[in-house]
Amino acid sequence: MHEAPMRNAPTFSVVAHPHKKVDGEGLMLGRPAYTDDLVPSNALHVKLVRSPHAFARIKSIDATEALKLPGVACVLTWKDCPRIPITRAGQGNPEPSPHDRFILDEYVRYVGDEAAVVAAEDEATAEKAASLLKIEYEVLEPILDFEHAKDNPIIIHPEEGIHEMFPIGFEPKRNIAAAYHMEVGDVEQELAASPVRVDTVVYTQAQNHVAMEPHAAFSYLDVQGRLTIVTSTQNPWHTRRLLGLALQMPLRSIRIVKPRVGGGFGAKQHIHVEPYVALVTLKTGRPARIALTRREVFESTFTRHQMRVNIRLGADPDGTLRAIDMQVLSNTGAYGEHALTTFMVAGSKTLPLYNKVKAVRFGGDVVYTNKVSAGAFRGYGAIQGLTGLESAIDELAHKLGVSPVELRRKNMIHEGETSEVFRIMGEGTEGVAMNIESCKLEECIRRGKELIGWNDERLVWEVAPGRVHALGMAIAMQGSGIPMIDMGSARIELQDGGFFKLHVGATDIGTGSDTILAQIAAEELGVDMEDIIIHSSDTDHTPFDVGAYASSTTYVSGSAVLKAAASMRRKLIDTVAMLWNVSPEDVIYEDKAFRTVDGSRHLTLHDFSYDTLYHNGVRMQTIEVTESFSGEKSPPPYLAGFVEIELDKETGKVDVVKYVGVADVGTPINPNLAKIQIEGGLLQGIGMALYEDVRYSDKGHLLSHNLMTYAIPSREDVGSIVVELVDSYEPSGPCGAKSAGEIGIDTPPAAIANAIRNATGVRLTHLPFTPDKVLAAIKAAEGAA
C-alpha cells in the first residue's frame, strides 16, 4: 500500500484507513453467525434426491417405503410444484436469463439435478428416506460436448412454456440459450489490410467457486404466518422475487434474511436451496433446514461458464493494433442462468482495454449441455475473454519481436479516453457511453515491472538442470456495478445517545462490505466508526439493494450510503437551525456538535439526540433519511499482473514463485480489505490457471466432486503474492472509490499462459495447465522441432 497522500483527493479521517471488520471479533470468537449455526432446534431436515443420469425423464416416483419410515414428514415431487418456468439467476428485473427451469421438473438434465425433496425429523432419517424413494427413469442420450451442442438432434429443452424475458437470442430447439453479435468498423477488411496477424484459440474450463461455507438455508412461518427464509445468499431481494414467482406467492408474504455468509464469489447469486425449504415449510407448517454437502455443492450448484475464445488480431509492423475479432462459444450447462451476460462480459469488459483499434467485433452463442449449470462467478466472463485476448496480444508481441509490455502500453486505454464498446455492449442490453476519468494502468505496469524485476531481455532462465524460471504478464479491467440497472439504498436514523443506525440492503458475503459502508457513513457524518451501527440485507428491515455482485457494492451501495449520510448531515443542520431560529448557513456541525457561526449557541449531537426524541414537545421527531443510488457509469478498476513461474521440464509441473498484482481501485475505502480481496482473487485465478477443473466421465458423471479430486490451492501452493494499490481517485465514486471484488481474479490464467510460452516456446490452449498437459506440449514441440 502506498502511504503517500492521494492526488486531487480530499484527506479522509475514517475512509482510506484500515479499520478492523465490524464483525471481525465476533467471527474470531466463533459466535453463531452463519445460517446453519442459527437453525431452530425443531426444524425438519431437508434432503434433495438427485438424478443419477445426465438426461432422463422421470416415469414414476414411489414414496411408499420412504413415507413408512418413522420421522419422515413429507416427500415432494414435481407434481407438488406449481408449473411455472423460472430462472435461478439472481439478477435484475426482467432477468436477462431465460426462464427455462422449474423448481422440480419431470425431466432431469444433469447428474445431480433435483428430482425430489424429502423432509424428516433428523438428518439420518431424511437420508434414509431419500434412499428408499423408488424413482423410475427413462434414460435419454445426453449432450456433453459443448462444441457439438448447437443444432444437435438431441434437444435438451423440448418443453413448452419456457421463455426469454426480452430478446436474448434464446432458441431452445437449437440448444441455444442466448446469442449476440456486434461489430464496430469492418473487421474483415481491417484484418485483411493488416500486415501482421495472429489467430489464437483458448479453452477456459468450468471452475467451481468453493466458498468454504456450503449453501444453506432454513425457513419458518412467523407469527403473522409469513414465510421467513434465512439463507446464505448474495441477493435477498432477487431471491424473494424469484421465490414469489416460483411458489406463486405475493412478495409481501415472504421475508428473506441474510446472516453472515461464508464466501460467495457468485455461487450464492442464485436460488439453489431456498425453494426447497420453502416448499417443505409451506407443506408442513414446520421450520425446515437444508445444508448442502460438499459433494452436492459440486454436483448441483453452479460453475464458471466453460468457453472457447477465438481471437484474431491485426496490427501494423510498428505494433499499432488495428482490429480485434473475438468469437466465443460458451457452455451454460443444463440451464441458462447468466448465459447471455457472462458471455457478453467476455467482450464488454476486455475489448475496451485496447480502445484505439479501427475495427472490433464480438459474437457467438451460448449453448446448453447436460452438465452442471453454469452461473455467476467472480470474473464473470471477463476472465475467460481476457485469457483469450491477453494470450493473443502476447502472441502478437512474439510475432513482432517486441516487448509484450511495450506493445500493451502502446495500444491500451488511458485516462480521458473512451471506447465505443462501452456504449454498444451492456449486460444483456445496450451499454452506456462512458469517459474514463480514472485509469492508472501506466503506473500499475511501471510498479509491477519493478516488483517482479521485469527485463525484456531475460524472460526465461535456468535455475537447475531441467528447471527454468520465466516471467509473464497481463493487464485487466472490470466494472463497478451495472450502470442504469444496479441500485442500492441506505437508510440512516439518529438514535438517542447520538449514534446512527445505518440500514443497507447491500449484502456482506464475507467481503467486509458492512465495514466499508459504515466507514463511508462515519466519514461523511464526522463521527467515529463505533457511532455507526450497521444492519444489512433483510427484506423486512433494510431498504432495497440488488445484492453483492458485478463489483457493485462499494460503488453503488457505497454511493447510496454517502448520499444518505450527506442528507442526514443536511437534515441535522436544518433541524437545529430551525430550533435555534437561525438560517442553516449559520450552523456549523463539527466534532459531533452544532454551533452558530458567531459561537453564541452550542449543542452536542448527543444532547440534540435526546432533545429531538424526548424533550422537544411537539417538535419531537425521528431524524431519518433514505437515499438510493444507481450508477450512470461503471468506472473500471484496472490491474497489471506479473508472474514468475518455475517450470520443471521433466515433470511438466508449473509453480508460481511470485505473483505481483498492482491495482487501480480508486480510493481504497479500507486498504486492508481491498488488498485482501485482490490477494484472494489472484489466488483463485492461479487456481484456475493451474489446478482447478470440473471433470466428467463419458456418461456425464462428475469426477471432481470433492476437495480431493477438485484441488483448490492450499497455502503450500502459493509462492509469494504481492499486491499494491496505486494512488487513484474516481470522481464519480463514493470518496473516489471504484471496486476491488473481481479485478484480482482476471489476470493469472493469461499471465501464467504467457510465462509458460516464454519458458517453453509453446502456447498452451486448454486450461488448466496441469503437468500432463504442459509435458505433452513440450514433447510435441520437441517432436516437431
Binding site: M28, G680, S704, M708, R715
Partner: protein, 504 residues
C-alpha cells in the same frame, strides 16, 4: 456399549451419540458448539479442526489439532476436547493471542475457515518445539481458505512466531506457560492435574473400564484414524459402534522385537503417521525418513491417521505402504481379540491380492508392522521416496515410489523399489531390482551413475501398464515412473553431479 465420557472445554460430558459417530456431529448437533464448522466432511478443509488433549502411553500430556469430521467420538474417551468456544474461556481481553493476531492482521475475511486455522495454530504452539515460521505454516497445511489468498494468514503466523519464540520445551511446562499466556484455557490445568487417570471419580457416569477389543469381535467395522473410513462412510447409522483400533494400548507402541532370525522394529497398527515420523527409533533405523513426513496429507490428517489404516485401506497409491514396502516390512495380523497365538506374519507385498483385496480375514485385524532393524548401523541404508500430485500437499499421489538398498563393498544389495499408482495394487518392481541388485555404485562417476539411473528407470517404466483416471493419464504415469526413479538417484547421490548429467 458404554457411553463415551470426555472433558468438553471446561465440563465433563457423557456423549449421547454412539462411539462410531463422527465427533463433529456431537460437537455441532449434541453440544451446540457451532464455532466448529463443516466445510467438507472429508478431511480436506480443516474448518472442523478441534484440539484433543490426552496422555500418551509414555505418560506425557499433549494437545493436538485433528479434523473432527473424521474423528470417532469413541476415541475421545477420557480425553480433553477443546473447541474455539473453550479456548476463549477466561481470556483477559476476550480474545486469545492467536485470535488477536488474526484480527489485527486481517487474516479473516468471510471467517468460515478461521476457527480451523486458530485451532491448528494453537495446537502448533502447544507442541514442545521451537516455534518458527516454517513450523507455523506447516501446521496450517491442512486448512483451506478461499477468501484471503493466505498472505494475511502468513502475516498472522509470523506475528505469533515472534510473540512466542521462548516457550518452554518441556511438554508440561509449555502447556502451563500457554495457559498463563491465555493461548490455552485454564481447563487444560484441570486436565493436567488429573493425570493419566482419565475421567473424574465423582463424575456421574458408570465407571466401567475401557472398552476391550474382545467385546467387539465380529463388529461390523474397524476404524483406525478414520481418515479413509469416514470419507467413504460419512453418515454412519445412529448406533454405529465399530472396533476402534486406537482404543487398544497394545497397538500403540514402537519398540524392538527379536525373533529367532533377526531383530525387528515393531510399529503398532494404531501408531499415527505423525508419531511414526517423529519416533527416534524409526528415524535411527531409516536415516532421512523424517524429510518425507510432509509428503503425506496434512498436519491435521497426520495427527489422526494410523500407519495400519494406510495399509489396510489398500489404496494403490498409499504413501506409507509405498515406503514400508520398499523397507521390507512384515505385517503381523491377529484375530480381533488380539490373541497372540493366532498371529500370522505376512510380507507386505504378499498382503495385497487384488484391487482392494487383502490377505486379511474379516475376523482379523492388522496388529503391527515389523521393519528389519540394524541396517543403518554402518550408515549404508539408502532410502528415498517420491510422489507426484497436483498440489504440493493435501493430495493423493498419481504415482508414488520408494527405493531402498544398502551399499556393500560398493555394490547395491537388498534392492526394493516400490511403485504405487501403476497397477491395481502397490507393487515392487522386479525389473528395477534386476538392474540394480549387485550393480556397482559408481559414486564418483556421475556419467556412470546417470547410466545406472536411466537403466533402472527405463526398466521399471517399461514393465508397468498403468491406467487412465482422474489423477493422470496412463502415458503420463509411465513417464512419471521414469522421472521419479531418476529423482531417487538425484536425491541419494545429490553431491555426485548426477543431476547435471541427467538433465543437461
Amino acid at each position: 456399549m458404554e457411553p463415551v465420557r470426555l472433558l468438553v472445554n471446561s465440563s465433563w460430558h457423557v456423549a449421547k451419540a454412539a462411539p462410531g459417530i463422527p465427533a463433529l456431529d456431537v460437537i455441532r448437533g449434541e453440544l451446540h458448539l457451532t464455532a466448529t464448522k463443516e466445510g467438507c466432511r472429508e478431511g480436506d478443509c480443516g474448518a472442523c479442526a478441534v484440539i484433543v488433549g490426552e496422555w500418551t502411553s509414555g505418560g506425557i500430556p499433549r494437545y493436538r489439532a485433528v479434523p473432527s469430521c473424521l474423528l470417532a467420538t469413541g476415541d475421545l474417551e477420557g480425553k480433553h476436547l477443546l473447541t474455539l468456544e473453550g479456548l476463549v474461556e477466561g481470556a483477559r481481553d476476550g480474545l486469545t493471542p492467536v485470535m488477536r493476531a488474526f484480527l489485527d492482521e486481517n487474516a479473516s475475511q468471510c471467517g468460515f475457515c478461521t476457527p480451523g486455522f486458530i485451532m491448528a495454530l494453537t495446537s502448533w504452539l502447544a507442541e514442545p518445539q521451537v516455534a518458527d515460521l516454517a513450523g507455523a505454516l506447516r501446521a496450517v497445511d491442512g486448512n483451506l481458505c478461499r477468501c484471503t489468498g493466505y498472505a494475511a494468514i502468513r502475516r498472522a503466523a509470523r506475528r505469533l512466531v515472534q510473540e512466542f519464540a521462548d516457550l518452554p520445551l518441556d511438554p508440561v511446562e509449555r502447556l502451563k506457560a500457554l495457559v498463563e499466556a491465555q493461548v490455552l484455557p485454564s481447563s487444560v490445568l484441570e486436565y493436567l492435574a488429573r493425570g493419566p487417570g482419565h475421567v473424574p471419580a465423582d463424575f456421574a457416569a458408570p465407571a466401567t473400564a475401557l472398552m476391550q477389543p474382545s467385546e467387539r469381535i465380529g463388529a461390523s467395522a474397524v476404524v483406525g484414524g478414520g481418515t479413509d473410513y469416514y470419507v467413504r462412510n460419512p453418515d454412519p447409522d445412529a448406533g454405529f459402534a465399530p472396533l476402534l483400533i486406537k482404543r487398544h494400548p497394545a497397538l500403540a507402541h514402537i519398540r524392538y522385537h527379536a525373533d529367532a532370525q533377526q531383530q525387528w522394529l515393531e510399529v503398532g497398527a494404531a501408531v499415527t503417521v505423525r508419531d511414526f515420523f517423529s519416533s527416534p527409533l524409526v528415524r535411527s533405523e531409516v536415516p532421512g525418513i523424517a524429510r518425507y513426513e510432509t509428503a503425506f496429507a496434512s498436519t491435521l490428517i497426520r495427527n489422526l491417521a494410523t500407519v495400519g489404516g494406510n495399509i489396510v485401506n489398500a489404496s494403490p497409491v498409499a504413501d506409507m505402504t509405498a515406503m514400508l514396502m520398499a523397507l521390507g516390512a512384515t505385517l503381523v495380523t491377529a484375530p480381533s481379540d488380539l490373541a497372540s497365538d493366532s498371529e500370522r506374519l505376512i510380507p507386505i507385498e504378499a498382503f495385497f491380492l487384488g484391487y482392494k483385496k487383502l490377505d486379511l480375514a474379516p475376523s482379523e485385524v492388522l496388529k503391527a508392522i515389523r521393519l528389519p532393524a540394524g541396517r543403518s548401523a554402518n550408515g549404508s541404508l539408502q532410502f528415498s521416496f517420491e510422489k507426484i500430485s497436483k498440489r504440493r500437499n493435501l493430495d493423493i499421489a498419481a504415482v508414488n515410489t520408494a527405493l531402498v538398498f544398502t551399499i556393500e563393498e560398493g555394490r547395491c544389495r537388498g534392492v526394493r523399489l516400490s511403485l504405487g499408482g501403476v497397477a491395481p495394487i502397490p507393487i515392487l518392481s522386479d525389473a528395477a531390482r534386476d538392474v540394480l541388485e549387485g550393480a556397482m555404485v559408481p559414486q564418483d562417476d556421475p556419467k556412470a551413475l546417470a547410466r545406472l539411473a536411466l537403466a533402472t528407470a527405463q526398466a521399471a517404466a517399461a514393465s508397468v501398464s498403468p491406467i487412465d483416471d482422474v489423477r493422470g493419464s496412463a502415458e503420463y504415469r509411465r513417464r512419471m515412473v521414469h522421472q521419479l526413479i531418476l529423482a531417487h538417484f538425484v536425491r541419494l547421490f545429490e553431491s555426485s553431479g548426477i543431476a547435471e548429467e541427467l538433465f543437461p
